[in-house]
């Protein structure tokens, strides 16, 4: 292995992330190359310093009220989730109710006009025949004249 190839592998070797076969090859090269050995040491030192700095840092922790409040929020989410599962979110309830009322109203109107209730029919069929009835006051004689509905009263029709 040459230095160029070894130098590419050294960053991973420094953190123990090379495959065993590759590691053997790089280590064989390190045995004969002081420059690459020095580079490996630099990487290890840099990694060590970065890890030490991370450990020294104190990103802090949750205060108890913060933590409790977060857990309470999560529980509240669960409540909302359950409601959602049942399909009872307030907005949906309102929309569904409104839709149901509209459908019922339209159906009621339609049904009233067509299917049920008393059939509206003409109370008296249109007269085909007109009759005139004359009754004598003295004798009680009745004379009934029947006229066709097309009878020409004024004599206009020929």
């Amino acid at each position: 292995m040459k230095c160029l190839k070894a130098k590419k592998a050294i960053p991973l070797l420094a953190g123990g992330d090379l495959s065993p076969r590759k590691e053997r090859n790089v280590r064989a090269h390190l045995g004969i190359c002081p420059s690459c050995r020095k580079e490996l040491e630099e990487y290890r030192s840099a990694l060590g310093r970065a890890k030490a700095s991370a450990r020294e840092e104190k990103p802090g922790d949750w205060s108890e009220p913060e933590w409790k409040s977060l857990m309470a929020r999560i529980t509240a989410e669960k409540g909302r989730k359950r409601t959602a599962v049942l399909g009872l979110r307030p907005r949906w309830v309102l929309a569904s109710g409104l839709a149901a009322v509209i459908i019922l109203a339209v159906t009621a109107l339609f049904v009233k006009d067509t299917a049920f209730g008393p059939q509206v029919t003409s109370p008296v069929p249109g007269p085909d025949v007109v009759s005139v009835k004359m009754v004598s006051q003295e004798t009680g004689l009745q004379v009934v004249w029947f006229f066709n509905k097309n009878f020409d009263w004024k004599g206009d029709k020929k």
Binding site: K8, R49, K51, G60, I74
Partner: protein
């Protein structure tokens, strides 16, 4: 127990990881407020998607994966906000406050300075593998990428960190 509806069982389940998750979020963002927001989001998502957790795998790593996703989402949102602000700033330019910049520089930790040379993916990989000590496969799983991608980014991140310590912050190399 949590899955069966006992919400109170969630708290003891996640309490052992509350600080670790916050530390990871801080490592990824380098901002305490952002870290808390991300950790909160991660716990909320963990609760919501607990049914998808594969019990044969580490719960801690599963939480880390969620936190890494939450951090990425937040970075994306902040990027969009920053772009919008930059756009607004172009319309009404304001000179930066040199004093506040100097103060911010003074208070940056050593690790902050080292991490500032890394790209977003390199940082994620470096934090998960070298600081949180997940192995390559776990890191790949947490970041939803291949092991090869993790190795490439890790190698690049370590090289940049080494160069930064050697060239810009030699006092760190000496351990002072």
């Amino acid at each position: 127990m949590v899955l069966s509806g006992r919400t109170e069982a969630f708290e003891p389940l996640v309490t052992p990881y509350r600080q670790a998750l916050l530390a990871l979020a801080y490592g990824l963002t380098r901002d305490r407020e952002d870290a808390k927001e991300i950790a909160q989001e991660a716990f909320l998502r963990a609760f919501k998607y607990l049914g998808r957790y594969d019990t044969s795998r580490s719960f801690r790593n599963w939480l880390f994966k969620i936190a890494a996703n939450a951090a990425r989402d937040r970075a994306r949102t902040k990027g969009r906000e920053a772009a919008a602000l930059a756009q607004a700033g172009r319309e009404s330019p304001r000179s930066p406050d040199p004093e506040s910049g100097r103060r911010a520089g003074e208070f940056r930790s050593d690790l902050d300075r080292c991490l500032s040379v890394l790209g977003p993916r390199e940082r994620e990989v470096f934090i998960l593998r070298d600081i949180e000590e997940l192995d390559i496969k776990e890191t790949a799983r947490a970041l939803a990428c291949s092991s090869i991608s993790v190795r490439v980014n890790l190698s690049s991140a370590r090289r940049k960190i080494r160069d930064a310590i050697r060239d810009k912050y030699p006092h760190l190399e000496e351990g002072q």
